[in-house]
């Protein structure tokens, strides 16, 4: 297992708190951070042929936007704190994708904010963070 923590990154305030906490822990244990942003996507959705033909282009745009708008400021924040980090953008379902990546990269633990989702869908299906707790194969730390 590597001395590396996976941090779930979104644009939200809760996610920033999680990153701040991750920085503290990384400093204390000389760990590095893997900053991950997941773009919600399902291979089982339905689209028109027109949308499919433009999909590759759309995906590139989504990746660029995620790197520039979501990950860049966080990476800067981590760097300024003097912690080593790498950043990664993935398409998929939040919890499943984070758990899979944690396994793939052999990280020590996952650190995530308590996601800002609310309302009916959370009541029915649970939030990303609670799902993550259930399916992850490494320890998960949820920052309130």
């Amino acid at each position: 297992m590597q001395n590396k923590y996976l941090v779930a990154v979104e644009g939200s305030e809760g996610s920033r708190r999680a990153v701040a906490h991750a920085i503290e822990r990384a400093k204390a244990s000389h760990a590095e951070l893997l900053l991950v942003h997941v773009i919600d996507w399902s291979p089982y959705s339905f689209h028109t042929a027109d949308e499919l033909s433009a999909r590759h282009k759309r995906r590139e745009e989504e990746l660029t936007r995620a790197r520039d708008v979501v990950l860049a400021p966080i990476t800067k924040m981590v760097e300024e704190a003097g912690v080593q980090s790498t950043a990664e953008v993935r398409h998929g379902k939040g919890a499943e994708t984070l758990a899979a990546l944690a396994k793939e990269q052999d990280v020590a633990q996952i650190i995530a904010g308590r996601s800002g989702e609310s309302g009916v869908s959370t009541m029915l299906f649970g939030s990303t963070s609670s799902k993550l707790v259930q399916i992850s194969s490494v320890p998960v730390l949820i920052v309130p």
């Binding site: 339905f46 689209h47 028109t48 042929a49 027109d50 949308e51 033909s53 994708t97």
Partner: protein, 500 residues
């Protein structure tokens, strides 16, 4: 803005909706009927075989499908399991997440083919060709799987990336570039252009007028004939909705249909199975009729061969194998292995013809045994609707909505196929002209009766099969090579499942 102006136009038309306008339908019918007859005669040039009239173009398609089935060693059976593994994502690299998945390509292609043909076309086949036509429809569906395999593989292999990052593909591209690679530059160019013109006109027929026509017929049946003579009004409204999606860019309507259509398909099949089970006592007799009719067909013009011709004709009309339209839809997938799209596309004729059409045929077949002559003079969707109504009194309303949605999603899919033909000919800059023409034909579709309209759209779609199958013959060795190399690499473990 344009949309709002169009709505205003509708309001004016609605206000003018007086019986005097009913004459429009008849006028248009009297103009189109002779054209339909002429086009039909040319495309369906028939040769008499043992007393039946065999259209050469049907023979062309059947021979092609049989050839590809044999040439590729029954890939439709041997590749079936692999097709399902691909759709399930077993072989999808997680790093490619966010690109078009095999499932999405399949779903889009299926929603283009699952349409009124599955509800109404089967009824037409059974009316004209007797129960035995069902047997030949299923066989045609099975053979068509191999044709699709070839055309969809080639569609992906020779697709073209546009400067804006979107992709265009389909038979016109594999004809032009695939044949050029064999040194047949002139032939490839000619066939590509011919196909592009054909798919454009075909999009206005099978993918447009026939759909809106059947949607109108179904609505009118449910409304108890209250819409008689108002075909033009229904047509204008439908055209308005299509306009709002393909020109107005109202994505939400498209998004809603794309989600509801699969749900409708599942609902349709579920209720169909319920109706079949309610007629359980008649299932053996209905299946017996299908087999008996397939080989002896009494009372069908041309006997068993007549039933075979009708069955094959309807099957192609429903699953579009050999037309090349699915090849256009599948081209959007970004894969290093074009052959994988071939495998996935095997499932289309299977879902469309072998599953859904068979279910419809059994609904009609069991009802025919239980209550001969239940539908009166009704044909097409109206006949299927009557069969459902016998068991579930309110189902025609659901069917009307399903038919409308199927028609709509098929129109949206075909608007794209036609568009690709058009832009192949005239470049990407002239899309709006095409889209306006397309909308006009949606309205026109509701104004003509089923007879001439079915003949025109049938004829046009069969016409583009000619160059398409020809190109598939030329390029089949390429597909076979790719398939062999792919299978070898799976065997050697070079290509393996992810996450296993």
């Amino acid at each position: 803005m344009l949309f709002r102006r169009l709505l205003a136009t509708f309001a004016v038309f609605a206000a003018l909706a007086s019986p005097a306008f009913a004459g429009i339908d008849d006028t248009i019918n009297s103009i189109t009927a002779p054209i339909a007859a002429l086009v039909g005669q040319i495309v369906f040039f028939k040769v008499p075989v043992f007393g039946a009239q065999l259209p050469l173009v049907v023979l062309w398609l059947v021979v092609g499908a049989v050839f590809f089935t044999l040439y590729l060693g029954f890939v439709s059976i041997r590749g079936f399991k692999h097709a399902i593994e691909l759709v399930r994502g077993d072989y999808s690299n997680p790093n490619d997440a966010g690109e078009v998945s095999h499932f999405q390509a399949l779903a889009t292609a299926v929603s283009g083919t699952v349409g009124i043909g599955n509800i109404g076309g089967v009824a037409v086949a059974v009316t004209v060709g007797g129960p035995g036509a069902t047997f030949w429809m299923i066989l045609a569906g099975f053979l068509g799987m191999s044709t699709k395999f070839v055309e969809c593989t080639l569609g992906v292999k020779y697709r073209q990336e546009n400067p804006d990052g979107s992709v265009s593909g389909g038979p016109m591209y594999f004809m032009r570039d695939g044949l050029a690679a064999q040194g047949r530059v002139g032939l490839g160019k000619f066939m590509g252009t011919f196909y592009a013109i054909g798919i454009f006109i075909g999009a206005l027929g099978i993918g447009n007028m026939f759909q809106s026509n059947q949607a109108y017929v179904q609505l009118n049946t449910v409304a108890g004939g209250a819409l008689d003579g108002y075909g033009w009004l229904v047509g204008l409204i439908l055209a308005g909705v299509v306009f709002s999606v393909i020109i107005g860019g109202i994505k939400s309507i498209a998004a809603v249909t794309e989600k509801i259509v699969p749900l409708m398909a599942v609902l349709y099949c579920t209720f169909a199975i319920i109706v079949i089970l309610m007629n359980a006592a008649y299932i053996p007799a209905a299946i017996g009729n299908i087999f008996a009719g397939a080989f002896t067909a009494d009372g069908v013009a041309g006997g068993a061969l007549g039933a075979l011709i009708i069955g094959f004709q309807r099957a192609v009309f429903s699953n579009e194998a050999g037309i090349g339209s699915a090849s256009i839809a599948h081209s959007a997938v970004r894969t290093n292995e074009p052959i994988t799209e071939g495998y996935v596309s095997l499932l289309e004729p299977f879902i469309d013809t072998i599953v859904i059409c068979t279910i419809t045929a059994l609904v009609i077949g069991t009802t025919q045994v239980a209550a001969p002559g239940f539908a009166g003079d009704a044909t097409g969707v109206a006949m299927t609707s009557a069969a459902f109504e016998r068991q579930i009194s309110w189902f025609p309303y659901v069917l009307a909505i399903a038919a409308l949605l199927f028609a709509f999603s098929t129109m949206i899919s075909w608007s794209y196929y036609g568009l690709k033909g058009w832009t192949y000919l005239f470049g990407e800059g002239t899309q709006t002209i095409y889209k306006l023409i397309f909308c006009a034909f949606v309205a026109l579709g509701c104004m003509v009766q089923l007879g001439p309209i079915l003949d025109i759209s049938d004829a046009l779609v069969f016409l583009i099969c000619v160059p398409n199958i020809l190109a598939l013959y030329f390029l089949a060795p390429t597909v076979k090579r790719e398939m062999k190399s792919y299978l070898d690499r799976i065997k050697s473990g070079e290509i393996k499942k992810y996450g296993a």
